[in-house]
């Protein structure tokens, strides 16, 4: 069985304007695949079409199954989503937010089972937010919220994660902490497709990259192969030079 995400010949429109043109790409388990491209190149649209949130033509396979063959609950158990910024503005505790991830595992009137509790605890632990469990979601910092949303995605039990610019509003420490979690998940066999804005961030943290330009795939492959000076210049219109750069990492005890 093929696993991970496979997109073939995907075209999609947003607000009556075609945004994606015949896009084909894939993401494998055990790897972090960065989805890159300038603003308006179609990254978020590709992510939403892959999740089946917007109508699109073409084929999407999640873990070998065609996306259209899955009902919403099945789909939610196969692939989980972390939005760029959540719309959640209700007074829920962190645990209650993560419990929303269990939606697809329960019947209409079913109560919380031991399996639900265990999955929620594990997800809180994995995303490094177990210590925040009883806090109100609205009181958290941007970085903490993002990790709670990651925990909610993990609670769905799916091994395929789609993240839309999860680090865009975060400071350097929070960014490192998110990438630390993503790397560990990839090592545990998860398939991770993440939209990233920063090329340097992608270079440092991803294994593979898919570079979109005006709704088409410009390049895909190992991240170092994709981010070559001539490609970057063509897509972003900037010059890229190798240089010694700062390197940031979390101190041992907080990893």
């Amino acid at each position: 069985m093929t696993t991970g995400i496979r997109v073939e010949g995907l075209s999609a429109s947003y607000r009556n304007k075609q945004v994606l043109f015949d896009v084909s790409c894939q993401a494998q388990p055990g790897e972090i695949t960065a989805l890159l491209g300038p603003n308006g190149s179609g990254k978020s649209t590709l992510l939403k079409a892959t999740l089946g949130l917007i109508p699109a033509s073409g084929e999407v396979h999640i873990n070998g199954q065609p996306l259209d063959s899955l009902v919403p609950a099945q789909r939610a158990r196969e692939v989980a989503y972390v939005p760029q910024r959540t719309q959640l503005m209700a007074r829920l505790s962190v645990t209650e937010v993560v419990e929303l991830g269990r939606f697809a595992h329960r019947g209409p009137l079913a109560v919380r089972t031991a399996a639900d509790r265990e999955a929620v605890e594990l997800a809180l632990e994995s995303a490094g937010v177990a210590s925040l469990a009883t806090r109100s979601f609205l009181e958290l910092s941007g970085g903490e919220r993002q990790r709670v949303l990651l925990a909610r995605a993990l609670a769905t039990g799916s091994k395929t994660l789609l993240l839309d610019e999860p680090t865009s509003a975060l400071d350097v420490r929070q960014v490192l902490s998110i990438h630390g979690v993503l790397r560990r998940l990839a090592e545990e066999g998860c398939c991770i497709l993440v939209v990233l804005h920063g090329l340097f961030e992608a270079y440092q943290n991803a294994d593979q990259a898919v570079l979109l330009h005006r709704g088409r795939v410009q390049q895909q492959g190992a991240v170092a192969e994709v981010l070559r000076p001539e490609v970057v210049e063509e897509v972003y219109g900037v010059r890229m030079e190798a240089a010694s750069a700062w390197k940031f990492s979390l101190p041992e005890e907080s990893q």
């Binding site: 939005p83 959540t86 719309q87 959640l88 209700a90 939606f103 209409p108």
Partner: protein, 330 residues
């Protein structure tokens, strides 16, 4: 003590005291042994009707607030109550041989009124959704509701002036439009109770879906919610609940706004707690409002909708001001 437990204790005490006061206050002397039973029976039906109307509107409020992800939405603010009221007036006129003469008028009025109200509520919600679309901001939704409400009220006024030709009918239309549970009896309870109870149980059953919808439609869909299905059913059941409530209580405003809002701050935002608390809270609120209509010194009867409006409108303004201050209005 836990805030939710406290809220339930207050609700139960308020419900019990409303029942007791409602049975002991009003026109007629309970000391008159010959009439005592009749007075008590009339007041019991009146109490049950007020409670059903309140429960239906409050749970309807929870549903639309979940659908629009907006604590400022409610059946009266979105024009749903006015739509239900207009539907009621229309069916009242039709059934009395007005406009069309070949109606099966042997069917009692109490039986068809809820369906007129229900259709009116449903059409009002559909127009609102058609005009505002899927991703309208708070202001668009509230303004559209306001305009729809004004339009339905104007249409109702027009129908009333047409109906004035027949004095009896004109009186019936006025009395229905103003709202109130006086002179409502067992037939009203028998018709509205199943609609309100089933609607509330369904709302309770959708609790987890509505919880997930708190995160917005995209996130809810990604969690496995069939968003289209939820939207469709929420609209149908909001129409049922509002229609049933308006059929027995008339145009009682602001219940669906005030009650869920107050309950949320005590039992939390999760719908499994919010739906039952709003059900009881709505029943208690309108039962007490109806008691007030009886004890406020006034020439004639103070309509029920006037009492709930006097409480509800200021609460709405406070909420609106708070939303504006917190930058939630865009």
């Amino acid at each position: 003590m836990n805030r939710a437990v406290l809220a339930w204790l207050v609700l139960l005490v308020a419900a019990a005291s409303a029942a007791w006061v409602s049975l002991s206050v009003g026109e007629g002397d309970l000391g008159d042994a010959a009439l005592r039973d009749m007075y008590l029976e009339l007041r019991t039906w009146r109490l049950l009707n007020s409670m059903l109307a309140g429960a239906g509107l409050a749970v309807g409020g929870v549903l639309v607030q979940g659908l629009f992800r907006n604590p400022l939405a409610s059946p009266s603010i979105l024009g749903t109550t006015a739509g239900a009221s207009l539907g009621g007036v229309l069916i009242l006129l039709l059934w009395n041989g007005f406009l069309v003469t070949r109606m099966p008028v042997w069917v009692p009025m109490e039986l068809v009124l809820p369906f007129g109200c229900l259709s009116g509520a449903w059409i009002a919600l559909m127009i609102l959704l058609l005009v505002t679309g899927k991703r309208s901001g708070l202001v668009t939704v509230l303004l559209t509701g306001f305009i729809l409400s004004s339009f339905f009220v104007a249409l109702g006024g027009f129908l009333l002036s047409v109906a004035q030709e027949n004095w009896e009918l004109g009186r019936a239309v006025v009395s229905f439009t103003l709202g109130g549970v006086d002179s409502k009896g067992g037939a009203h309870v028998a018709l509205a109770a199943p609609l309100v109870l089933v609607g509330s149980v369904v709302a309770f059953g959708w609790a987890r879906h509505l919880d997930a919808m708190l995160a917005g439609e995209d996130e809810a869909a990604s969690l496995g919610v069939n968003v289209l299905q939820v939207r469709r059913w929420v609209i149908v059941w909001t129409a049922v609940l509002t229609g049933a409530a308006v059929a027995i209580g008339g145009n009682v405003s602001f219940v669906g706004l005030v009650v869920p809002h107050v309950m949320r701050s005590y039992v939390g935002v999760k719908h499994r707690a919010l739906v039952p608390a709003s059900f009881v809270g709505g029943a208690v609120f309108v039962a007490w409002a109806d008691i007030l209509t009886r004890v406020v010194p006034a020439q004639g009867v103070v309509p029920l909708g006037v009492v709930t409006g006097l409480v509800g409108a200021p609460v709405f303004l406070v909420l609106l001001a708070r939303a504006a201050r917190e930058g939630r209005i865009a």
